[in-house]
Assembly symmetry: C2
Homo-oligomer: 435 residues x 2
């Protein structure tokens, strides 16, 4: 992609309303624009990141045996009357009346809708276990939207739902999802620590949040360092139930569930007090919805029993912001490779130079042949502005090309994360990036 033909407008200065770093950098890097309070448009660069995150989440859901469906954003209140949550849910739920004055709502979560689908389609234990998920926009009518995507109103979420014949099978699925989540977050280049959590309006008695450690996080977190090591585990080595037990035996809580007496039993050198950003939340709530909504299945003995359920959320759009909070420096964003909007940025110091053009064209083709995506800064800007913009948008690799280097068949290669630079030949560029 040539920048001159792309829709990517960076900002040199910090927008004054943006108080947290992810909000500032997403605006400055031309990833998002605010439409009104808590509502954002994703511009092309930001949307590329969002789709990569969504793609990874989807791959890991499929791998964990979940089937993808897609429920509408707008729900009928009728199902929420059945579950009893319509009145119980707080003012964060956007309540709507249609032209016939019927009660609708913008779904903040989908337990009712998925339970309704289940009860109409599945009658026998032979169809269990069943795991469904979707990736859909949600709305939370925050009283004071702020911090960009961190506390916005419309957000993209993956929510998955499991259906099992009994408590033991449901618990087992919950453990498998927890392990699958560790794997998912690891692919984003971060460790998300599972922490015991309150169940809130979803319900049930077993719940974990996943938090990415970041100085700017909104939750205070307290954990045993050993749990962060576990987060970087290799799944193949571990049985889900064993890993789950190991995690559950280690202290890790947010301020909501923190117990200082328990925390002090952790050896002092392993105690960490820090801040974190919630990016996932899982719940095992048994028959909370299946009983009032009549989601029954026949078991192997021919009896009708309520199905046991869990639900599992990942904040897809929030992860884009959380990764920036966890990975940036003074110059801008430092994208983990798996979610970078492009793999490589090429800076043409003299975009009109004929030899530079040819070299860049060849380099682009060669990089794209290895599956890399490339953004070429061919704008008529001074080099300083190009350096600053490329650092700001945070692509993993930068290749700086000017006529002087080309006289010696050399270009400059920079690795954004470390800032390490080297003068290399064109052949070496490909070999280094592709390795």
């Amino acid at each position: 992609m040539r920048w001159s033909a792309y829709f990517l407008k960076t900002m040199k200065d910090n927008p004054k309303d943006a108080k947290v770093v992810s909000h500032r950098l997403m605006l400055r890097a031309g990833m998002i624009r605010q439409m009104s309070a808590g509502l954002y448009t994703w511009l092309p660069l930001g949307l590329r990141v969002l789709k990569k995150i969504e793609g990874i989440v989807r791959e890991e859901q499929d791998r964990a045996g979940f089937h993808e469906v897609l429920m509408p954003t707008i729900q009928s209140a009728d199902l929420w009357y059945e579950s009893g949550r319509y009145d119980a849910y707080g003012p964060e739920m956007l309540r709507i009346k249609d032209r016939h004055e019927a009660d609708l709502l913008y779904g903040p979560t989908n337990e009712e809708v998925i339970t309704d689908i289940f009860r109409r389609e599945v009658q026998s234990y032979k169809d269990l276990p069943l795991n469904l998920y979707h990736v859909q926009w949600k709305f939370r009518d925050e009283v004071r939207p702020r911090f960009g995507l961190m506390r916005g109103r419309e957000f993209l979420m993956k929510d998955g739902y499991s259906f099992d014949i009994d408590e033991a099978a449901a618990k087992n699925m919950y453990q498998r999802v927890l392990v699958s989540y560790l794997r998912t977050f690891k692919r984003f280049g971060v460790t998300a620590i599972p922490m015991r959590a309150d169940t809130g309006p979803i319900g049930g008695d077993l719940s974990h949040e996943f938090l990415i450690q970041a100085d700017t996080g909104e939750s205070d977190i307290f954990f045993d360092t050993k749990i962060a090591d576990l987060g970087a585990f290799s799944e193949e080595d571990q049985h889900p139930a064993r890993l789950y037990d190991a995690i559950n035996n280690l202290y890790a809580r947010t301020d909501e569930t923190h117990d200082s007496q328990l925390f002090e039993q952790v050896p002092a050198e392993r105690r960490v007090i820090s801040k974190g950003i919630e990016v996932g939340h899982i719940f095992n709530f048994g028959t909370k919805y299946s009983v009032p909504m009549g989601a029954l299945v026949q078991n192997a003995n021919g009896e009708k029993v309520p199905v046991h359920m869990g639900s599992y959320g990942i904040g897809v759009s929030r992860i884009a912001a959380a990764l920036i909070e966890a990975s940036h420096d003074d110059a801008g964003i430092v994208w983990p490779e798996e979610v970078a909007p492009f793999d490589v940025g090429i800076l043409m110091l003299k975009p009109d130079d004929q030899r530079c053009k040819e070299v860049v064209n060849n380099l682009c083709s060669a990089l794209e042949d290895t599956g890399r995506t490339v953004l070429v800064d061919d704008r008529n800007e001074r080099p300083g502005a190009k350096f600053a913009d490329m650092d700001l948008i945070g692509l993993p690799w930068q290749i700086i090309i000017g006529p002087r280097g080309l006289d010696n068949d050399l270009v400059e290669l920079k690795y954004r994360k470390t800032g390490a630079k080297s003068e290399v030949s064109l052949d070496q560029v490909i070999a280094t990036i592709a390795s």
Copy 2:
């Protein structure tokens, strides 16, 4: 994918509320389920189709030089006050109040939001032309939702927007989009005929609808057969402006704009009166939004002038239904190959037979190696039910495998569209399907 592990529940009988064939078949084939009036959940089989349609639309938008963005589903009414459309838009617009009693709405279209983005980011003619699009859920609060997806309330739409420096450039872009749309619809295996249309609430003085001919369509259409030939054109042969002129000189109208005197000037043997389904709509509306909203750019003479705009919609979810209306038979859906949820269905007549299992495993691997997707019906159902279900869901190819055929190393291959069947060897199966 093995059917026994998939979430795909077909219905043998026609649901009594479903009056149009696409609605009936989408329910019976387990593609969608209704949540409440005009609101549908996409089940796995349906979602695969929806994603394929979306993917084709996206590829053709990118090819036409549009950049993808993503605007929120919920919009602030403020922008609509500026354009003057908040009060003008009918009761189909879902109006919402948030917890602070501020006016929001579920976007039925996005001219205001995109104009707002443009005016904040672009100030110079040097950044033009600019073409943006997104694929996002829309809501139309139909007074009487019916006919399944054909007149639902929440629907997926691609809407694109063009920004040009003057009327001539905008007209040129409009013509290019019209040609790009012909190409897009051709990829779905259908001809969508462009017809002169009223501009309605979008505005402007130039507009075309695209209609797929189907006996069950809701619009009466009147056209010169020559235009349907043009629809099947080869783009490479044609200059967009020339093709556009050729189309514009041929009669093609819906009942909304039909002029019987003009129609009678078409030679009688070329006059067609039929029914059609609208799947796209394009508008050139000049400065209708840029003037009231102050979207000005500096032109080459240094003067500030309002930008000239057009907007271009494709009904992504509606196409899934329209393709079924245009392509089905008494046994079920007949998917065009480009949007089929799977390319091949394998019917295991004896799913427990060890030799059948091995043959099917090998066949799946071989087909998947050629890039084909496969659904294996390994359920414990009688053969008759399997034949009916496979015809119902409409995959292009069927392979019927039973122990008797395998005694002679033969399987049965059926092409869904024609019903043609042949007994072939396993090697021939691959060669035939992959050709």
